[in-house]
Symmetry: C2
């Protein structure tokens, strides 16, 4: 099927999906879970083709690991769908009601976005996760994965479509793009008549390409140049624990800490100890002049302060005041997650109010920016833009609304 | 100032604006109102340059009328600002609070979008309206108007910046783009590091150009191919009143009715009378085969059903069922405003649930899709997209949110 036909099919499906009952949606999700488990042998066989191709192409061990499926990972994908059945259905919620002086009764009701396009890279589990979240929130989804996972994604998509069919629901709730070339991706990004929203999931290059080329509204996710500011009133032990956690608990993720901002009054005390703890965890420190003087570490360039390392590297900037800290963070951050460690309530409130980011923390690790940690029960990504949704996006963030207006003959004067 | 500097100035201003008190914002709005009135002579002089140029260019009378200012229109712009001072300030509202099992306290708080870019055409009043709404909602605004209004917009912008200065608030809360060429507009659309959202206000050509070229998230507004469906249970008198109102009360607006869908059971009765009433108002009818047979009117082409006429023309489609009506509307509508006229409660509910549009009406004119009519007190436009905001956009729709997370040393396991 070519892209235009595929998009038309997804658009036709969205009208059916927006009126599905919660029970029916949960039935489908449960059935998908079952079909995946029943077909795990077949899925592993197809996955082995991808792994073999990736190996002969010389992809990195980390990439191959992301690509690899096994019984356990298939079980986890299936279990993820079952968990989605337990989440409340956002669709149909009446968000507000109001009556106008002329008697019009207006209801603001939550509805699906419609058709969501997802362009992603080499993680086959995204095929299942993205379908599950989009489907539960009443959306049709068009999935375009990377070439490295094409065999795995194809068989997983077939399983999902089979399960939809088994339940008597349109298979086009999931439309899978078989082509993996860049031209097809570009073509997809032009289909604004049929696709309501595009969500890229993957590295910075993929996201940039989508933002630059899409004619469809995009939700930008992912990039996190997250800072922790050690205020002059910070508690040493807390600072050390939070920073080690935020920097080293998992380094390749968008909510990991990439930069420290330190009040100069505590550089001799807290920074020294934090630096020692970081170095013990083999984290390379790149500091400004004062930090280099103090620690004899590598010097940070201007570029370092804007970097999302996703690696065992951290930049350090010393400041003379909380004002300078806030200005530095607002200059370099990516609107993801920012933290102050402080015992000063006024400084905490200023930081919360004045730092511009999706999630601003007082005395807690930036690693909590996550749909599960926030209690949303699921996550399609972390939005770093201002429009529509900001921060962790769960089911509710995959919805829009409509106004239902009930009258009895009102006309405008 | 070149575009890059202008955008940097607006971005710097946004941090100051997001912490302004409501009282201060209202003080500024009142001051702007005063400065505009004090300078009305100067504004009219500059406006006269625009009018002279437009006249010698041979612009249409309608366009010149939109461009023209007089004492009364300046007073109306000033009064509009005073009205905005009376609206509740959306910023700082705590939208939700929740506590996680680990003790993290999370608050979802309403914040400004940041920097809003507005690209508009030849209405000088947009300069004042857009500033007023963006400013009250804590945003910095970059305005780029059309060349036809350049003298008027320049002097109005200077008045606004003077008022900001008089109140001790950064003048860059309003950044005005002096260049009016297309290249500058294209350059503006690339400034995604500095501008958070772009809202085009104007005709279909302008909106298409912004959607196609912008790298900044766009809110698409305006196009309305609005339908009214006359159900087989419709009340004749109500149908006639609503349709005449929706089609003819004001023809050049996006919430005007452009197409009738009629159940075939009532074509001999209701459609005939409605058509006569429309023709009395000099509305040209373009119908499908059954309508042409009935009324001997002009035949509608496929293209007619997708047209937003903004003129004394209406298309008519007959259908055999409400299903067919809903399918027709979902195929041709632009996601703006759709109406059913019916006495059948089940048909009303099906229409409300199944027609995909920002505003769906039962027994009321589509002309009510409007920020003032909805009680929002103001309007920056009508969104026809799914992301962020749908339908009339008031102050609240010019905001985003952030999560404030308060901990006492929590780290992720």
């Amino acid at each position: 099927m070519d892209i235009a036909e595929l998009c038309k099919a997804a658009k036709a499906a969205k009208y059916e999906l927006q009126t599905l009952t919660t029970a029916k949606k949960n039935e489908v999700l449960t059935e998908v879970s079952k079909v995946l488990l029943d077909n795990s042998e077949h899925i592993l066989l197809e996955n082995a083709h991808d792994i073999a191709a990736a190996t002969s192409k010389g992809l990195s061990i980390a990439l191959i690991d992301r690509l690899r499926l096994n019984e356990e990972r298939i079980a986890a994908m299936a279990e993820g769908l079952v968990q989605i059945t337990h989440l409340p259905d956002p669709i149909g919620e009446v968000m507000e009601t109001f009556e106008r002086p002329n008697g019009l009764k207006i209801e603001k009701c939550r509805v699906p976005l419609g058709v969501i396009g997802i362009i992603y890279e080499a993680r086959p589990n995204v095929t299942v996760d993205a379908f599950g979240l989009c489907f539960k929130s009443g959306n049709a989804v068009i999935l375009k994965g990377g070439s490295d996972a094409i065999h795995s994604n194809t068989v997983i998509s077939s399983c999902i479509r089979q399960a939809l069919k088994n339940c008597g629901v349109t298979e086009d709730a999931l439309c899978f793009v078989e082509a993996t070339d860049r031209e097809t991706a570009l073509q997809l990004m032009q289909m604004s008549d049929d696709i309501d929203v595009l969500i890229p999931r993957g590295g910075a290059g993929l996201i940039r390409s989508v933002v630059e080329n899409s004619r469809i509204p995009v939700i930008e996710t992912g990039t996190g140049n997250c800072h922790i500011y050690i205020d002059d009133s910070a508690d040493l032990k807390m600072a050390k624990e939070i920073i080690i956690n935020a920097k080293t608990q998992r380094i390749g993720v968008c909510n990991a800490c990439e930069s420290l901002v330190v009040h100069e009054a505590v550089k001799e005390t807290i920074l020294k100890e934090v630096a020692a703890a970081l170095q013990e965890k083999r984290v390379e420190i790149r500091g400004d002049e004062a930090t280099v003087d103090l620690l004899a570490c590598k010097a940070a360039t201007e570029e370092d302060f804007g970097r999302e390392y996703l690696d065992l590297i951290i930049s350090v900037k010393t400041v003379a005041s909380i004002d300078e800290a806030i200005a530095h963070i607002n200059r370099y951050n990516t609107g993801h997650s920012e933290c102050i460690i402080t015992q000063d309530v006024q400084h905490a409130e200023r930081f919360l109010n004045e730092v511009d980011a999706a999630c601003v923390y007082v005395n807690a690790s930036t690693r909590f920016t996550d749909g599960y940690e926030f209690g949303f029960g699921a996550e399609i990504g972390i939005s770093t833009q201002m429009l529509h949704a900001r921060g962790p996006m769960g089911l509710r963030e995959l919805t829009s609304y409509k106004y239902k207006v009930r009258g009895n003959g009102q006309i405008r004067k």
